[in-house]
């Protein structure tokens, strides 16, 4: 055991978890432990207490209400990747999960709540959740709050989550039509984290249509937070999708970005990240387009 000593508490309910967080100076939530435990082993994090939320049933499950998909915060990568409901209604999410490094062992324990709460720029969920228009549902002493993912993540490994709050679920709006998703990623080879990860959420009328009703494309790993690619989206939205248009849209990917905010570090230079953006955007859109045939405009 390499961690510092800590006390362990098993929360029976969300309210109980909040109570436990409130009564400790420096408590951390234990869900899948994939981000937390390595940091504790290295003593980079030394919480006084761990609040284990894995027995709270209300944090589990993926279900649909009228116009919303609710993904319980404790849903594992595996459950999300295998969810028929998500494949149908928000396919960008399971598409993305398939790219999360770690293999089955990690996918069986790591959770979506833990992943987004860590808000690491190399992690993959943030871009996908942003493209899907998600809200992060958090609970704390003041009750339940819905925060758009773009506001929830403030910066690299930084969120608006207070020390007394936890992520309870993620909500994704249901759209009517044929919704398609794609995720393409250039991995850093040691960590498997994204140097550039592009999530695409496209909406068509049906599985034959090539008219893009809406296009939401976001990139993670490129900057401190995931960011939407407005220029690319604008080139696609409301248009007939053709090979030329797809390429042109990808070619515009960086034009709406603040290039001074592009990460420039040992994993990849800013210049190289930008070089990778266009081909990854192309791949991501192509994956979303799937089997449908694109015709050149005549």
């Amino acid at each position: 055991m390499h961690t510092e000593q800590f006390s362990y508490h098993r929360a029976e309910s969300v309210e109980h978890a909040v109570e436990l967080l409130e009564t400790s100076d420096d408590a951390r939530i234990l869900a899948g432990g994939q981000g937390l435990i390595p940091l504790m082993k290295k003593r980079e994090l030394t919480p006084d207490a761990l609040v284990d939320i894995t027995q709270i049933d209300e944090l589990r499950g993926i279900e649909r209400t009228d116009d919303t998909i609710r993904i319980g915060g404790l849903s594992t990568h595996r459950e999300i990747a295998d969810s028929a409901l998500l494949k149908e209604t928000a396919p960008v999410i399971p598409r993305t999960v398939a790219h999360i490094t770690g293999g089955q062992q990690v996918h069986n324990v790591a959770t979506i709540g833990g992943n987004i709460a860590r808000a690491h720029p190399g992690y993959d969920y943030e871009g996908a959740l942003l493209s899907a228009g998600s809200q992060i549902v958090v609970s704390g002493p003041a009750g339940k709050q819905r925060v758009p993912v773009s506001e929830f993540v403030r910066g690299p490994c930084s969120t608006t989550l207070a020390e007394t709050q936890l992520v309870t679920s993620i909500e994704i709006p249901v759209l009517s039509g044929d919704r398609r998703g794609g995720y393409a990623k250039k991995k850093e080879p040691a960590s498997g984290n994204a140097i550039v990860g592009v999530a695409t959420d496209l909406l068509f009328d049906d599985d034959q249509s090539t008219l893009v009703k809406s296009a939401r494309i976001a990139v993670n790993g490129l900057q401190g937070c995931a960011v939407r690619l407005d220029a690319t989206e604008n080139k696609l939205e409301g248009k007939q999708l053709t090979p030329d248009r797809l390429e042109a849209a990808a070619g515009d990917a960086s034009s709406s970005l603040d290039s001074s905010a592009v990460l420039d570090n040992k994993k990849a230079s800013a210049e190289y990240r930008l070089c990778l953006l266009e081909p990854q955007v192309q791949k991501s859109i192509r994956q979303a387009v799937g089997e449908r045939t694109l015709y050149s405009q005549t």
Binding site: H2, P38, K42, P121, N193, Y272
Partner: protein, 796 residues
């Protein structure tokens, strides 16, 4: 006599006997051994690379549960170093005095630290966590001395001396080969190429971090060590010297160990201190390193930098190779380090008949962890550079790189072949092996396709690398430690067999391969053979597993012991059947007189009879058990060709390995599936060197490559060991050129992939982007480096 057991003997790809245990999670490492009353050790390690220091452990001693804190004032420094040196080779560098003993590492730093992670002392506590907590209570005051992290820094005019005995930080310096002849050949050459290499330290990274348990019984003065080592018997011997404890009162056991790759070939200071602590406290003590601690101080590999050159005649004959090498030794000279420099020179001419070779090596100490053997050892840098140079000089001369290789191979009738570097290759048939690779690629069509694709803006490249290695080191007297192979064989009265092997299995499949040798020689089924290894309690002697030695040397020893047994059994069979031993045949587990096969006696009947001892020849002792210390005539020199086809995307610098063909020749293969496994594993580590791996130190000497996955913002993501997703599909072919001197013709082959892959992959990438006319690449070749080269320097 033609013994064999066709189902499971030599040459059979039987499934590994150890697989079931390994795959079902049944393996037990050091940390899995249940201990009821062990104390736990945490080492106090230097956080600085170069400094004098003082330690204050007062607060740590007060922590509840701490049993002892040892600082340099409290430990007895052993008289010998860790490990003590060995001097080497049959072709020593002329006139080079061997490095001073003061450059050999001591068990702990007394008042000055020389690299990040060096041991200053240790904490012993009732639990691992208490020991770890107490570490935080220790105050170390450092007085920093300017660290020298690279060979250039270490040899700069104003560089601080790491050791008083070498004020210029140069531990040794010397040349090997015929310098004048080499220089002359270069003057007469039509084409020459010069290529720089940087040190590129890489980490062996066995999966299991180092660990050790020491158990001391004061009544018998017996010290029992359970540890992660590749050399149990030699480890015992070295520990006995360093602890000044009788060797026959120490035992060393190695449980299932998760890899070694050379990094577990010699004991470390921590190993000595675990033993010392057990004796001092008369208790059971345990140390288990974390991954971070393991990577911080485990010996790295490579560290060769400098200039390599090749000379070619107008007609395409390689005239000479020359190298000027700066060898980064780390802060202390590892046990094999100086000798590795010499070993590299032996084979610096590779598979080619090159009349002249000269290399000059300067061994330089730096404020970093030691560099020692790592799979491929010095053959990897030497042959990667040779193979890059052959391809480059061929292109410079307007010749095909494959054609130049074929023209220059040593011919089969030249064996035994004396290299210009000083080695004597035992056997080879290089061109036959090489042609298999060319056919598999359909080489000439592929070259045409390469031209066509370039017209379309697609860039494929073909890389070739030929290899050999010093496998199965080697004849006694080659180096000044024992290098024979040990194999004892006991035949039970039931006919079952136990093999006692002096090697160390830590993933190589010895339970199976050595069992196959016995099965083959004795004509018994593999299921009837048990192989015992990794224990000084059970196996009489051994030198461990390193330098691709087990198939040839332990296998050779087992074969020889089996043959002694078969011979003794033959005398019993002759006695039984009333004939003379010279007319007894032995085939597939049965003895029979040549003229009356119906009078057959089975091997197990003979075994029972010898064991009982009642009805055997008068002069014969009962019992059917033999042992062999096999001293080979020569090392074995396996060889092969790796050919790689890559495609590079010039827009992003990303590359895909489309084809990887390895054609190997390790003589007679005991188990072709195990050979394939060794090739694939070796290629993974060679691919790591070509594309991913490099140990990094900060300017102040802080080691930066400990985690394999690093989520620290702005970090490089961790030290990249290649994973399954990074591996290409590999086509494996083979030829068989038996070793003329090992008992069953086997050669070692454990390092082939690590030696050959870097050159083949680097050559392939450089071949692909040749139209951009860029400078030579520096491994590890990341996509970003390729992209930068094309887009910054690219001239097309």
């Amino acid at each position: 006599m033609t013994p064999n057991h066709s189902d499971s003997g030599i040459g059979s790809s039987v499934s590994r006997k150890e697989d079931r245990k390994v795959l079902l999670g049944g393996s037990k490492g050091v940390d899995d051994i249940p201990l009821s009353d062990a104390l736990h050790i945490q080492f106090i390690r230097s956080e600085k690379a170069h400094a004098t220091f003082t330690v204050d452990a007062t607060d740590a001693r007060d922590v509840s549960g701490v049993v002892a804190v040892y600082t340099p004032d409290d430990i007895k420094q052993s008289e010998t170093t860790t490990p003590n040196p060995f001097t080497l080779f049959s072709a020593p560098m002329e006139g080079v005095p061997y490095p001073d003993d003061s450059l050999r590492q001591r068990s702990f730093a007394e008042d000055k630290v020389h690299y990040h992670g060096e041991i200053i002392g240790m904490v012993v506590a009732e639990t691992q966590r208490i020991a770890r907590d107490a570490l935080d209570e220790i105050t170390i005051e450092y007085d920093i001395i300017g660290p020298v992290v690279t060979p250039q820094e270490a040899t700069a005019d104003d560089a601080a001396a790491i050791h008083e005995s070498v004020p210029d930080n140069v531990a040794f310096e010397g040349g090997q080969g015929d310098r004048d002849l080499t220089d002359e050949q270069f003057e007469n050459a039509a084409y020459t190429v010069e290529l720089e290499k940087d040190a590129q330290r890489v980490s062996p990274t066995p999966l299991e971090p180092r660990a050790a348990i020491g158990q001391y019984d004061e009544a018998t003065e017996h010290l029992d060590i359970i540890a992660t080592t590749q050399i149990p018997h030699a480890y015992r011997r070295l520990l006995a010297q360093m602890l000044e404890h009788p060797e026959n009162k120490i035992d060393v056991t190695v449980p299932d160990m998760g890899g070694g790759f050379g990094a577990r070939q010699h004991p470390y200071p921590a190993d000595v201190l675990v033993g010392w602590c057990a004796v001092d406290l008369e208790r059971t003590v345990k140390w288990r390193s974390t991954r971070t601690e393991n990577q911080l101080v485990e010996n790295d590999g490579r560290g060769y930098e400098g200039t390599w050159e090749i000379a070619l005649s107008e007609q395409g004959d390689i005239l000479a190779v020359r190298a000027d090498i700066r060898y980064d030794l780390g802060a202390w000279i590892a046990r094999g380090a100086a000798s590795l420099a010499e070993a590299g020179n032996l084979l610096m001419t590779g598979l080619y008949d090159i009349p002249a070779a000269y290399s000059h090596v300067t061994g330089i100490v730096t404020n970093t962890a030691r560099i020692d053997a790592y799979r491929g050892v010095s053959a990897t840098p030497m042959l990667m550079m040779l193979e890059r140079l052959v391809s480059k000089v061929a292109k410079k001369a307007g010749m095909d790189p494959a054609a130049v290789r074929k023209r220059n191979f040593v011919d089969p009738d030249q064996f035994p072949y004396q290299t210009a570097g000083g080695a004597k290759y035992d056997s080879g048939d290089y061109e036959r092996n090489f042609d298999i690779g060319l056919d598999e690629l359909d080489y000439s069509s592929l070259r045409e396709r390469q031209e066509q694709l370039r017209e379309e803006g697609r860039y494929i490249g073909i890389g070739i690398s030929c290899w050999t290695e010093v496998a199965g080191l080697g004849p006694c007297g080659h180096i000044d430690v024992a290098t024979w192979g040990y194999g004892g064989v006991q035949v039970h009265p039931t006919g079952e067999v136990t093999v006692y092997a002096g090697s160390s299995n830590h993933g190589q499949g010895h339970e199976t391969s050595l069992g196959q040798v016995a099965s083959h020689e004795l004509g018994v089924p593999l299921d009837s053979v048990t192989v015992v290894e990794n224990s000084t309690k059970e196996v009489t002697e051994g030198v461990g597993t390193y330098a691709s030695r087990t198939a040839a040397l332990t296998g050779g020893a087992v074969a020889k012991s089996c043959r002694k047994i078969v011979q003794k059994g033959g005398k019993v069979a002759a006695h039984e059947t009333g004939v003379t031993p010279d007319v007894i045949e032995f085939d597939d587990g049965t003895y029979y007189p040549i003229d009356s096969p119906e009078d057959a006696v089975t091997f197990s009947e003979v075994a029972r009879q010898v064991h009982m001892g009642a009805d055997i020849p008068e002069e014969m002792e009962p019992g059917l058990e033999e042992q062999t210390y096999y001293d080979p005539e020569n090392c074995t020199w396996p060889f092969g060709t790796h050919m790689v086809v890559v495609e590079v995307d010039p827009d992003t610098g990303e590359y895909d390995i489309d084809q990887y063909v390895a054609t190997e020749d390790c003589g007679v293969q005991i188990n072709p599936t195990i050979v394939e496994g060794q090739i694939v594993g070796g290629i993974a580590q060679g691919l790591g060197q070509a594309l991913y791996e490099e140990v990094e130190y900060a300017d102040d000497g802080t080691h930066l490559s400990a985690p394999l996955r690093d989520e620290t913002l702005g970090s490089n993501g961790g030290y990249t060991v290649p994973k399954a997703e990074h591996m290409p599909d590999i086509t494996i072919k083979s030829t068989t050129t038996p070793s003329p001197h090992t008992p069953h013709g086997a050669k070692g082959m454990g390092e082939s992939g690590t030696v050959a892959a870097p050159g083949a992959i680097v050559n392939a990438i450089e071949d692909a982007i040749e139209p951009f006319d860029i400078d030579p690449m520096t491994p590890p070749i990341t996509p970003e480096k390729v992209w930068m080269a094309i887009n910054r320097e690219g001239k097309e």
